[in-house]
Each structure stands twice: as structure tokens, then as C-alpha cells.
């Protein structure tokens, strides 16, 4: 053991953080989000005077649906990163492939991952906890469609940022969806959130899906207005994310960065 070698390597990691905002954010990001989500869950449980109805369905259903959103975003970002890591990106974009075709392919790849992940989770929840996700009924289809759409919008946005800022922004691929978790009210109703976050939650499509899911599990009516809100927001966010990608892609070509993706 030589102290100078440990010090040299220690310096190497310090230098890394010094020049990378995403890496610095990582130190605060995960603990803060964990604290927010579990803090609100604790508040909700403490405030519930009576027993929460369908508690297993409430939490497991929420977990599986949240995972659909998360996989949807990861499906886009990680498929893109696969080509970045393999330094194959340039080969794709010297072929006749268009940006629209590329994004469509990423979405298809994400669908495969969602079906596999959600299928396995639903099966395990049924085998291990006797929870049948399909008790949610036909509402499950628009819930899933909306979560997938939001995941795609976040994924396309993240991909555009990585394309522009390179691999130092890669960390966003793993963490950005979680930024939406506290205001998506996955494991607690929106009313648990402080007023300013309740306002923010209105503009997060996932919060409407999870509110709707809880209503259906508790035997309420099909939450048409919640789904309408979520769908409208998702159409807007998908359009904005595609536009954002197109603008950054144009900038990347202008700066000659497309050939350097993965370096």
C-alpha cells in the first residue's frame, strides 16, 4: 500500500467531479429523490386514519405501472446508448436512415422491453403475492399507453441531451424519469403533496394515471377526465421532445459533433 498511489487515484476521481455537473448532481440527486418519495409515502400512511383499502393492489399495481414508464424511457435511452458505447453511431447515420426512422426504431425496441419487464413483474406479483394486475380491467390499456408515451417523451429528450453533450450526460438516462416520481404520486394520492407540488403534478401525465388507477382499484368509475388530461399532456410533451431532438440534432450536425458521439 502506497499513499501516493491512492492519493493519485483519489485525485483522478476528484478531477472527474470537478468538471462534470451531471456527476455532481448524482451525489445529491438520488438521496433527495428517495427522501421525497418515501417521505410522502410515510406522510400518507401516517395521515390515513383507517386502513388503506386494497393495500396490496394499491402498492404493487403502482409499482408495476411505474416500472412501465421507467422501462419505456430506458428502452429509448439505453438502445441509443448501446450504439454510443459500441461507437457505431456514425455508421448508422452515414446510411440512408432518417432521424424519424431512428426514433421510431428506438420506440419499438422500448416496447419489447416493456412487454418483457411488465409481463415478468405481473406474473411474479401473481405467483408471489396473489395480485392480479388485470383486476384494474380495461382501464389498464389507456393507463399503460399514457405511461409509455410519457416514457418515450422523457427518453427522446434525454437522448437529445446526450447527443449534444456527450457521454458525461449519460447519467441522465438512468435517473431522469425518477425526477418525475415524487410528483407522479405513484404510491400516494396527489393530496399528500404540498400545494406547489400539487400544481406541478397537474402537468405530469403520470399523476393522472396513478390517480385514475387508485380510483379504479377502490371501485370508482372509469377516470375519463384524468385520462383525457394525461393524453393531452402526453401529445404535447411527445411533440415538444421530438422538436427538441430535431433542434439539437441540427445543432450537433452544425458543430460536427455527430461524428464524435461515443468518443
Amino acid at each position: 500500500m502506497r499513499a501516493h498511489r491512492i492519493y493519485a487515484l483519489f485525485l483522478r476521481y476528484l478531477y472527474l467531479y470537478k468538471r462534470s455537473l451531471p456527476r455532481l448532481m448524482e451525489i445529491l440527486y438520488w438521496p433527495l429523490l428517495d427522501l421525497l418519495v418515501w417521505g410522502f409515502v410515510s406522510l400518507y400512511l401516517a395521515r390515513s386514519q383507517k386502513e388503506i383499502p386494497n393495500v396490496v393492489a394499491f402498492f404493487l399495481g403502482a409499482l408495476i405501472l411505474w416500472d412501465i414508464l421507467f422501462r419505456s424511457q430506458l428502452g429509448i435511452s439505453v438502445s441509443f446508448l448501446e450504439d454510443v458505447w459500441a461507437r457505431n453511431f456514425l455508421n448508422l447515420f452515414v446510411s440512408p436512415l432518417t432521424v424519424a426512422e431512428y426514433l421510431t426504431t428506438l420506440m419499438l425496441a422500448s416496447l419489447v422491453k416493456i412487454f418483457l419487464a411488465a409481463g415478468i413483474m405481473a406474473l411474479l406479483a401473481w405467483v408471489l403475492y396473489s395480485f392480479n394486475l388485470f383486476i384494474i380491467g380495461v382501464s389498464l390499456v389507456p393507463f399503460i399507453v399514457n405511461l409509455v408515451a410519457l416514457g418515450w417523451a422523457i427518453g427522446i429528450f434525454t437522448t437529445a441531451v446526450i447527443l449534444r453533450f456527450g457521454q458525461q450526460a449519460e447519467i441522465l438516462a438512468w435517473g431522469i424519469a425518477l425526477l418525475f416520481q415524487p410528483v407522479s404520486a405513484v404510491f400516494y394520492p396527489v393530496t399528500v403533496l404540498p400545494p406547489f407540488l400539487q400544481t406541478a403534478a397537474k402537468y405530469v401525465p403520470a399523476s393522472h394515471v396513478f390517480e385514475g388507477m387508485r380510483a379504479v382499484i377502490n371501485g370508482g368509475a372509469f377516470p375519463a377526465s384524468e385520462l383525457l388530461w394525461a393524453s393531452g399532456l402526453n401529445v404535447l410533451y411527445l411533440a415538444v421532445s421530438v422538436l427538441f431532438f430535431a433542434v439539437l440534432y441540427r445543432g450537433v450536425k452544425k458543430k460536427g459533433l455527430l461524428a464524435r458521439v461515443g468518443e
Binding site: R87, N88, L90, N91, V94, P96, R250, K253, A259
Partner: protein, 253 residues
């Protein structure tokens, strides 16, 4: 110094570059570059590191937007006909990799799809034979040596039977035997199938051997263009390597 060559018959011009300029911020990487590539011609693009060769190639591939100038390929404006042009073009670089986790055959199958190759499996078998890779077809790309990777890159570049090939140092990591076979193949496809090839290399002997014409870039500008022997005599050099060293060290006549 010889001036850039032009020919009268526009039909034979596969690539036409006029007044190409590329700025990266305040740095001018390519400065008023003009040249053309004729059908079935091998045009060598050479120059010291940082001369602008790769930027020119990336601009021709639509990876980088030019600051000024016009690029026509197959008589079409690149800015408006990217897809049509790239369907008939291909590219290979020693410095670009291919998907690591795919096998050689899977990798070529993906690119055959991207270029809409008819009867892809037959084409892949043909290329595996040409580049002496049949025994590697089930090997994952991650397990290929650098030389094998270069051969796979070249096989990928031929997948769509291109009319225009842009090659960035394609023989840089090949052993002399495969490098020689690759040069012969390039000359063969240029002569027999009228494939036009734009080629960069730091191997001056190779450039002299296979190039019909050369465009010499230095600090983003074309400083010489013409047949290799004309450039050598214009710069009063012994051979192309000698000329290259003179230019790189800025001892121009």
C-alpha cells in the same frame, strides 16, 4: 502548383464540391475547397493531421452541415437528397466500430437492411468470401482483432454495392497481405464496376499506387490537385512522401 482539375462532361462527375467552407466557431477547418470525383475514379484526399480531410468526408456524408459551398453527388444536391444519395454510397473508417455484441453475420444483416439490399444473405456470403471471413461469421464483433474489424468495416462498406465509396484510412490496421488485397479490390471495383472512391490514407506509397488523382489539403485549403506524378514534379519532390513532408513542414516551393 497544379490547379484543381475539372472535366467538361458533367455526366461522369459523381461528386462535385464547390467552394466548401466549414467553420467550427472561429476556427475554419475547411476553406473554399473545390474538387470533383469522376465515375470509376479513385481520388486520394491527403494532407497532414488537421488538414480537414475527415471534415470534408463527414460533410460529404451529411454528418456535418457545411458553413458555405455546394455539394452535388450523382448530380443531386446533398442538402435536399440525402437519402437517395446515401442509398448509393457507403463509408468505412478504421476509427469507427460496429455493434460489439452482434456476430459478424448479424452485423452485416443489420446493415443489409439499412441499405435495403435484395437477397441479403447471398450478398453477405459473397462479402465474407471476398474479405476472407467465412470462419469469423459466428464470432461476436467484440472478439475481433483490429485487422478483422477493419475487414468487417470494409465488408459493411460494400454491402449495398455502392457507386461511391468514402474510405477513411481503410488499410491503417491491416497486415500487408490483407492491405494489398484490399488495394487490389478497390482498384478492381473502380475499374470493372465504375465505383468512384474518395480515399484518405497516410500511406503515401499506397496513395501513389492506387489514386488516379490526388487532392492535397493543408490547413483546410486545397494546395495541390492532379495526378500523383504531376504533384511530385510540381513540388520538385522525389516521391509523394517527400512532397508530403515538405508540405507538412511548410517548405513549399
Amino acid at each position: 502548383m497544379p490547379s484543381p482539375t475539372t472535366i467538361d462532361d458533367p455526366v461522369t462527375l459523381v461528386v462535385e464540391v464547390h467552394g466548401l467552407v466549414k467553420d467550427f466557431g472561429k476556427f475554419r477547418a475547411v476553406d473554399d475547397v473545390s474538387f470533383d470525383v469522376r465515375r470509376g475514379e479513385i481520388l486520394g484526399l491527403l494532407g497532414p493531421n488537421g488538414a480537414g480531410k475527415t471534415t470534408v468526408i463527414h460533410t460529404l456524408l451529411g454528418l456535418t452541415t457545411p458553413t458555405a459551398g455546394a455539394i452535388r453527388i450523382f448530380g443531386l444536391d446533398l442538402a435536399h437528397h440525402r437519402e437517395e444519395i446515401l442509398e448509393r454510397t457507403n463509408f468505412s473508417s478504421t476509427y469507427v466500430s460496429l455493434p460489439y455484441s452482434l456476430t459478424v453475420r448479424e452485423c452485416l444483416r443489420v446493415f443489409a437492411g439499412l441499405y435495403h439490399v435484395r437477397r441479403p444473405m447471398a450478398r453477405i456470403e459473397e462479402l465474407l468470401e471476398t474479405f476472407e471471413m467465412p470462419d469469423l461469421c459466428k464470432k461476436q464483433v467484440r472478439h475481433l482483432s483490429t485487422g478483422q474489424m477493419s475487414r468487417l468495416n470494409l465488408a459493411k462498406a460494400f454491402i449495398n454495392d455502392p457507386e461511391l465509396l468514402l474510405l477513411d484510412e481503410p488499410t491503417a490496421s491491416l497486415d500487408p497481405d490483407i492491405a494489398d488485397k484490399t488495394r487490389s479490390l478497390l482498384v478492381h471495383v473502380a475499374e470493372q464496376r465504375n465505383v468512384s472512391i474518395l480515399y484518405t490514407s497516410h500511406n503515401m506509397l499506397e496513395m501513389e499506387q492506387i489514386s488516379d488523382r490526388l487532392v492535397f489539403l493543408h490547413k483546410g485549403k486545397v494546395i495541390a490537385a492532379g495526378k500523383p506524378e504531376d504533384i511530385v514534379s510540381a513540388f520538385e519532390g522525389q516521391d509523394l512522401e517527400d512532397v508530403f513532408l515538405k508540405i507538412a513542414r511548410e517548405k513549399r516551393p
